[in-house]
Symmetry: C2
Subunit: 328 residues, 2 copies
């Protein structure tokens, strides 16, 4: 008996979940839900229906876990509580500041429906958060560092595209190697925003646009670029397509801390990700937590959880005995 997965929202993330379900032998894709006309949506898995989101309620008893693949800005704050009344749900809500509010909404809805909701699943929030928690619990006397990249920031790429004279753009966030090394050497540096990351932009101009003006406008953009050392490269549309169509990302979570009666010994815990495809990796984490939601629900649990609340064994298809024998 495999776990029946529903995918709600079929963009990069939804397609990633579809691929992840294929890789997990104890899961099967039951249906994909879209707000587009289902006739226009072509999915990868043969024989699986594409349905309207409006018809999702009819699938209440045919789906074990619904994975919500919408955006954090406007989709998930509404969808996750709404669907948690009918389904076990997983989302990748990543607006850090609004997590407490989202948690409360999903918790109330999931309890009302007797379902399990796991929110903010992915790598940050997600695996990075877990590593911050474990490292802090082990080394109470220490200092945390998170670096992102090298990777594409969708938000920053979008910001560049809004500049007049820009046809298309891709922005990479890059950790500063010397800052990373200082942390690894146990120097416990105090790092400014500028000292932690640089930003590299690849920009395709509209015909006749003023390159110098565009570059200046990008580099001085508050919040997005003005606090960083930013490099702007102007390239052709063909080059952008050829060299920058991937969605790589990654990053580093480090904690350096002291132990001993007088803090005489230093330790470094480092977790890092190097991802060819940001959405596909996030989707793979979503799929693993879908397994956990299914099991918790089978045990009679209800309400909202985060990665902090899920015992690791729930993520694996292996039994406890198998895990102890092969992975401990």
């Amino acid at each position: 008996m495999s776990i029946k997965i529903g995918i709600l929202g079929y963009g990069n993330l939804g397609r990633g979940v579809e691929c992840a379900v294929k890789q997990n032998e104890d899961m099967e894709l039951a249906a994909v839900f879209t707000r587009r006309d289902p006739e226009t949506v072509q999915i990868l898995t043969e024989g699986v229906p594409v349905c309207r989101i409006a018809d999702a309620a009819e699938w209440k008893d045919k789906i074990d876990v619904m994975i919500l693949c919408g955006g954090s800005a406007t989709d998930l704050p509404v969808q996750t509580p709404e669907f948690a009344k009918m389904f076990n749900v997983i989302d990748s809500f990543d607006t850090h500041a609004r997590i407490p509010e989202h948690f409360a909404n999903v918790d109330a809805a999931a309890k009302e429906g007797g379902k399990v909701g796991i929110i903010s699943v992915g790598w940050d929030p997600g695996m990075f958060s877990l590593n911050r928690l474990y490292a802090n619990a082990i080394l109470p006397d220490g200092k945390d560092y998170t670096f992102w990249g090298k990777g594409v920031s969708q938000g920053h790429s979008d910001a560049i595209r809004r500049v007049e004279g820009v046809r298309d753009a891709k922005q990479y966030t890059i950790p500063v190697e010397s800052a990373l090394e200082a942390v690894r050497n146990g120097e416990n540096p105090e790092l400014t925003t500028r000292e932690k990351h640089t930003r590299e932009c690849f920009v395709v101009l509209e015909e006749g646009a003023d390159a110098a003006k565009v570059e200046e406008e990008i580099k001085s953009m508050p919040n997005y670029f003005s606090d960083y050392d930013t490099t702007v490269h102007f390239i052709s549309e063909e080059e952008l397509k050829r060299d920058h169509s991937g969605i790589p990302h990654g990053g580093f979570v480090l904690r350096s801390g002291k132990t001993g009666w007088d803090g005489e010994n230093s330790h470094l815990i480092e977790y890092s990700l190097k991802l060819d495809s940001n959405p596909e990796f996030t989707s793979s984490v979503l799929a693993a937590y879908a397994r956990a939601a299914y099991r918790l629900s089978q045990e009679g649990a209800s309400g909202c959880r985060t990665v902090f609340d899920i015992a690791p064994a729930y993520l694996s298809a292996k039994s406890g005995a198998e895990l102890r024998k092969t992975m401990l």
Copy 2:
């Protein structure tokens, strides 16, 4: 109300737990138990009694969690089940092959006593195991690698000390940098024992011993050295004491895996530790899991657990709401 910790066994690990308890504000040390004459044991914490192991039963209601700091070869297989009948217990049992048997024994004893036992806590088994599990659950189509070091192997140092003509010795296990790089580059190499680690030995000879003979005997020692590229340095007792009295260790857990409809995207998950003091880091992990054992017990749980079975939030002194707000 702080968590009352007992330490059973006062060697490097026990002293490390004592230091860790000092760093955790929600814990206090209740007593140290030793098989030596308590009069001869001087601990670091003022005002805390040192008692005989034989008298531990008298502390049944005065200790929330007993942390067992004995060895895996002969102490823990007997002590953990014995004390799990009376106390919530934590151990660092690290004989991987015997974990299933140890788990069963501790589970039966802990259930009999209505207590919680968490076994095989530390970094390997422990944090490394957790990272293997998480990475496998996220990337089902992938390959695992574990490298140890640079660090002191007690077992290998002891093996050298048993060679005739050796007065004292210290052995370092060192990961092969080029092998690590091949894994990081996503080459998915098949690595032999020799290709993964080298061994470096610092040896103090007895007067008149034959250095060439000692070196040959070390390098050809089956299981310990014959499958590795081993370097032997002969140094003075003073040099050994001055340069090699620390107990550093660490290592790397990596999983490289593929996602996408046809496995077209590669990902690398890497977790690493760089530890000045192996026993103090292990002790710090033990202390964090003692908090989990205490809480589980307060919730009415009993029986044996491993790190796989403990939701991460149980390790932190912060509340769920605080964790979601500050670390997610």
